[in-house]
């Protein structure tokens, strides 16, 4: 009876859905965002009371609430960066070199935020909170560029993953087609050859579009102006949408090629 119970418990645990790490990271991020919103609201109230009454009590309360908010702000940004790292690890469209490079950038930023969060504990005055906050304000453009660049590369990687599969299937189709050539009429061979040329040309255009996205993303990583980062992010997003459309068309062409290979005429 005991053995059956253990077996049933194990089967139950195996049947539970396994969350991807990024899904758990996203839930953590959403939770920290909720906590931050509450802490920020408390900070705004305490700041308002201090600026209005300028009493020692309001000053002490403002200091406490500000420090809590600053620590939570660092925690929020940290969990967002952790979400990006998990998504980078799971993205099959990025090369190992690209993944390592972006992960390295994000880890640098996570370490900065960890130092910031540790330093909040030592702040003893409202002037201290202001100068502490200014460190993040000064560093924020670089942090923002890393976040936007990583997000755009993740979107590009999503398309590249399907393009890699397309390339594999196209190669398979060409191999099967060339193996069947002796059994095909010259007209059929000519039709198949034409399709292969059309597909190869369109694949070339798609490759150029994806390369343009990659180059734009490198600009995002290097900028120190958040508005510029946003503008290039938008440009990348448009190009990624165009790449998806091109991939859809070339996949339809591959479907036509295979349909043509199915028949003798």
């Amino acid at each position: 009876m005991r053995k059956i119970s253990v077996l049933l418990a194990l089967l139950f645990l195996l049947a539970l859905p396994i969350d991807a790490s990024s899904q758990q990271a996203y839930r953590d991020y959403l939770y920290q965002f909720d906590v931050y919103r509450k802490d920020y609201s408390d900070f705004q109230t305490a700041r308002g009371e201090y600026l209005k009454f300028q009493t020692l009590t309001s000053q002490t309360s403002a200091l406490t609430k500000t420090k809590t908010m600053l620590a939570q702000r660092d925690m929020l940004l940290r969990t967002y960066l952790l979400l990006l790292t998990e998504r980078l690890n799971e993205n099959p469209g990025l090369t190992a070199d690209e993944q390592n490079r972006y992960l390295s950038m994000l880890v640098t930023e996570i370490n900065f935020l960890d130092r910031q969060k540790s330093a909040v504990l030592a702040i003893a005055s409202l002037e201290g909170t202001t100068s502490h906050s200014k460190e993040l304000e000064t560093h924020y453009p670089a942090l923002y560029a890393a976040m936007r660049g990583a997000a755009s590369e993740l979107l590009r990687g999503g398309v590249v993953a399907e393009v890699l599969d397309f390339d594999r299937l196209f190669d398979n189709a060409k191999t099967l087609g060339s193996g069947n050539r002796p059994l095909s009429s010259p007209e059929k061979q000519a039709t198949i050859d034409r399709w292969i040329v059309v597909i190869a040309n369109r694949r070339g255009v798609l490759e150029q579009t994806l390369e343009d996205v990659r180059l734009t993303d490198q600009k995002i990583f290097k900028t120190t102006v958040p508005d510029e980062a946003d503008r290039w992010f938008t440009d990348s997003a448009k190009a990624i949408a165009a790449a998806k459309l091109q991939l859809s068309e070339v996949t339809a062409n591959l479907t036509e090629l295979i349909a043509s290979m199915r028949y003798q005429d």
């Binding site: 929020l76 940004l77 993740l154 299937l169 859809s248 028949y263």
Partner: protein, 125 residues
């Protein structure tokens, strides 16, 4: 007794009866108007033209009535399959491309979960 037609015997005393001018046969030498044949041809051409125009109009503007006969089912044209059609590698390729096509259609190029938090950084003290 036979009745015999007796032709009148012309005698010098009996003149030939005059035939009314109305039933006089056309005499050689009577002249028709020159323009009469041309008029006839012209009228004939006009009538022919009218008939052709009417025919064309009928052909252009007549809506054909729907066929009331039962259409017979046409035999499906079967295309000969190639040697690849039953090859397992080809069938796998076919299904893989169908699967890829579905994934590409469903591919989302926007991801709201990647939007960074919007923060108000300056403290305002």
């Amino acid at each position: 007794m036979e009745k015999q037609l007796q032709t009148p015997v012309q005698t010098p005393d009996q003149p030939v009866p005059a035939i009314p001018p109305a039933i006089l046969p056309a005499q050689a030498g009577n002249k028709r108007p020159v323009w009469l044949p041309f008029l006839v041809v012209f009228i004939a051409l006009i009538l022919a033209g009218i008939a052709i125009v009417l025919q064309i109009k009928r052909a252009l503007f007549t809506v054909p009535s729907p066929s009331t006969s039962t259409p017979a089912p046409t035999a499906a044209v079967s295309r000969p399959l190639s040697a690849l059609a039953t090859d397992s590698a080809f069938l796998l390729l076919e299904s893989s491309v169908t699967s890829l096509s579905g994934r590409v259609s469903a591919l989302s190029v926007q991801d709201s979960t990647l939007a960074p938090p919007i923060l108000d950084l300056p403290l305002g003290f």
